[in-house]
């Protein structure tokens, strides 16, 4: 029995070898390289010297002034804070739009459901850059929104709503880009929800709001948490929407990292910020796993 068991495990390991190789080379490898880069000294022409240094991490909080003294520099903390606020706002906004949308879709007949879900996923087939450019046309000076306001007489010809290059523009761009990632997981958890539970709740004197608060919301919590993470994480590191719609006026984490690798040629600092971002994301995922465990207890059973 034992020998057979060992053989089985060995077979399993061998069978999964190609998968592990691919994941190792293409996912874990680059991460390790970045982790290594973050711990080395930057080369001003790009790349790094192979020499251990914590400068990259130190730079997140401290700066060396003209006199060679090390002093506290809040600039990057502010960027990180701003990124967080924007990512959280984008997540909440996506949730507010995505939850009713997912509920609506899950209530339709199978045929309509499939069409609607297909429509939700359509934007994924187009390049993110192009979709974000579309928002410039919508939000920009003389763009779709302003000209409709003009047409309705709500806005003078010379006036502008100044929608572009603001935090709101970034927020709109982020919510638009990542909304499907909120809708799909919530839809998935609502889809498998037993409709009779809603009838039972109504039978037991639940109003519509009570129904949502006491039954639908708790039962779609795994989807809500999953969706929130899927939206929050990429929003935190996003740089397309901030650059194009925010005009790069105010740096965000994603743009900061991108900037360090491209123009500033400070690889180790860029890598350090990336590692910092990664550790934050892992923290969030652990938190999610903890909550999800509680939910799964009753989900897996019939």
């Amino acid at each position: 029995m034992n020998i057979q068991g060992e053989n089985k495990t060995q077979n399993r390991v061998r069978g999964l070898l190609p998968l592990w190789t691919v994941i190792g080379i293409f996912m874990i490898g680059p991460l390790l390289v970045m982790a290594a880069v973050s711990l080395m000294e930057s080369n001003v022409y790009g790349g790094v010297h192979f020499k251990f240094s914590l400068n990259g991490y130190r730079q997140i909080l401290f700066d060396t002034n003209l006199f060679g003294e090390i002093e506290f520099n809040p600039a990057y903390i502010i960027i990180i804070g701003r990124s967080f606020i924007l990512a959280i706002s984008a997540t909440i906004l996506s949730l507010i739009i995505g939850f009713p949308a997912a509920y609506f879709i899950s209530r339709q007949s199978n045929k309509v459901k499939n069409i609607l879900i297909f429509l939700v996923t359509i934007p994924f087939w187009t390049n993110l850059l192009i979709r974000t450019f579309a928002w410039i046309i919508i939000l920009g000076k003389g763009g779709v929104i302003e000209s409709s306001f003009n047409f309705l007489g709500l806005l003078g010809d010379e006036d502008s709503l100044n929608l572009m290059y603001t935090n709101s523009a970034i927020l709109i761009g982020l919510v638009y880009s990542y909304l499907p990632l909120m809708v799909l997981p919530i839809y998935a958890s609502m889809e498998k929800m037993d409709m009779r539970l809603l009838e039972a709740a109504a039978d037991l004197y639940s109003s519509r709001i009570g129904l949502i608060r006491k039954v639908i919301l708790p039962l779609s919590m795994p989807g809500i948490i999953g969706g929130s993470i899927l939206v929050f994480v990429p929003c935190l590191g996003a740089f397309v929407a901030p650059d194009l719609l925010g005009g790069g006026k105010k740096l965000l984490l994603g743009s900061l990292i991108q900037f360090q690798f491209s123009y500033a040629r400070n690889w180790s600092f860029g890598a350090a910020v990336a590692m910092f971002l990664l550790s934050l994301v892992i923290l969030v995922l652990f938190f999610n796993a903890h909550i999800n465990k509680r939910h799964r207890e009753y989900e897996t059973h019939g």
Partner: protein, 360 residues
């Protein structure tokens, strides 16, 4: 029984049509029904007959196409389910998976905004009633089918509904448990005094628990009556066939009136009361329960009837007779069965008043 009865539910000319796109299905056709207060009332019928639809109309989960429903003389069809003082025990229980037993049972009371001490008192009271107090911290998935059943019952009883609706609540339990729950349900109904409207396709369940039964088929009520009425005097062949074992024997009327008689195709002449609309010479169908027929070994070799098969049932046996190419079923207690064997020639005795002419 003949005290002044209060009408708990009045169903007047109710029709329900399900329309999906171009096709429509008539689930209920002009149903009229009155259910009295304190009654254990059963809607009995094969699956798809409309009995569950009727229950869902009372609960408010479906819109009514035509007619009206009154609950203690108040019209309720315009009220949403959460405004109707009735509660439902669902077929697969539909317990809230994210809430524990206690929270499930307290759900309705909380939505009714009762104060906390009252909620606690009532919830514990009901949990004790269904003997689930010890498991009040369990989640539904940690319970057996029978326990889930009790919780579903407690949850529906907790808000003290005027009428309790039960949608085939025993169908997913195994036989032993089902039989035990029948007795418990009946006791519970008597103790609480709440009107129960019970939906089932199981005639045995209906006969053992109900005060009255409505037999439904194809969206129409076939017969309403006490279990013994329905069993002994079915109003038509559907009811006779659906409830219990039955012989439906074709024959011709020989003599009209109260003390009339018929000649069966099976070769026997039996005396029975003939309904007024049946005239001499008319073809009739005669209904008789297998356990009402007596058989004796025939002394003459010219007997028409012989035993063609046995089905062993434990405490009894079905005996199949062939008489003049007609099949007649007889049920005998097991101690009498051993007198007979396959191929025996038989004389049949039809005791008077146990056979009757039955409508199509």
């Amino acid at each position: 029984m003949n005290d002044k009865k209060v009408n708990a539910i009045e169903i007047n000319n109710v029709t329900k049509i399900y329309a999906t796109g171009s096709s429509s299905v008539k689930a209920l056709n002009n149903v009229n029904l009155t259910i009295y207060d304190n009654e254990f009332f059963t809607l009995l019928g094969p699956s798809g007959c409309g009995k569950t639809t009727l229950l869902r109309l009372i609960a408010g989960f479906e819109d009514i196409t035509q007619g009206n429903i009154k609950l203690f003389s108040e019209e309720i069809i315009s009220l949403p389910p959460n405004k109707r003082p009735v509660n439902t025990v669902f077929q697969h229980y539909a317990l809230f998976p994210h809430l524990n037993v206690y929270e499930n049972v307290a759900f309705g009371l909380k939505r009714l905004n009762k104060d906390n001490t009252e909620i606690e008192k009532r919830t514990n009271e009901v949990l004790e009633l269904v003997q689930m107090k010890d498991l009040s911290n369990r989640k539904p998935n940690q319970l057996s089918g029978g326990q889930q059943q009790r919780v579903a019952l407690a949850r529906a009883l907790a808000p003290e509904p005027k009428v309790l609706l039960l949608d085939e609540p025993l169908s997913s339990l195994d036989l032993k448990l089902r039989q035990a729950m029948r007795v418990e349900l009946k006791t519970l109904q008597r103790e609480t005094g709440i009107t129960f409207v019970f939906v089932t396709h199981d005639q045995e369940e209906a006969l053992t628990m109900s005060d009255r039964i409505a037999v439904i088929s194809n969206g129409e009520i076939q017969q309403i009556g006490r279990p013994e009425d329905i069993y002994e005097n079915p109003s038509n062949q559907f009811v006779a066939n659906f409830i219990g074992e039955v012989n439906l024997l074709s024959g011709v009327c020989l003599m009209e009136g109260e003390n009339g008689s018929c000649k069966l195709d099976a070769g026997y002449e039996i005396s029975l009361s003939i309904p007024r609309n049946v005239k001499k010479g008319d073809a009739v169908t005669v209904f008789i329960r297998p356990e009402r027929i007596r058989i004796n070994k025939s002394s003459s070799a010219k007997s028409l009837t012989s035993i063609s098969g046995f089905t062993y049932l434990g405490n009894a046996a079905h005996i199949q007779l062939i008489s003049n190419k007609q099949i007649i079923n007889v049920t005998l207690p097991i101690d009498k069965v051993k007198n007979f064997k396959k191929g025996d020639l038989i004389e049949i005795e039809f005791p008077k008043d146990n056979a009757q002419v039955i409508n199509k």
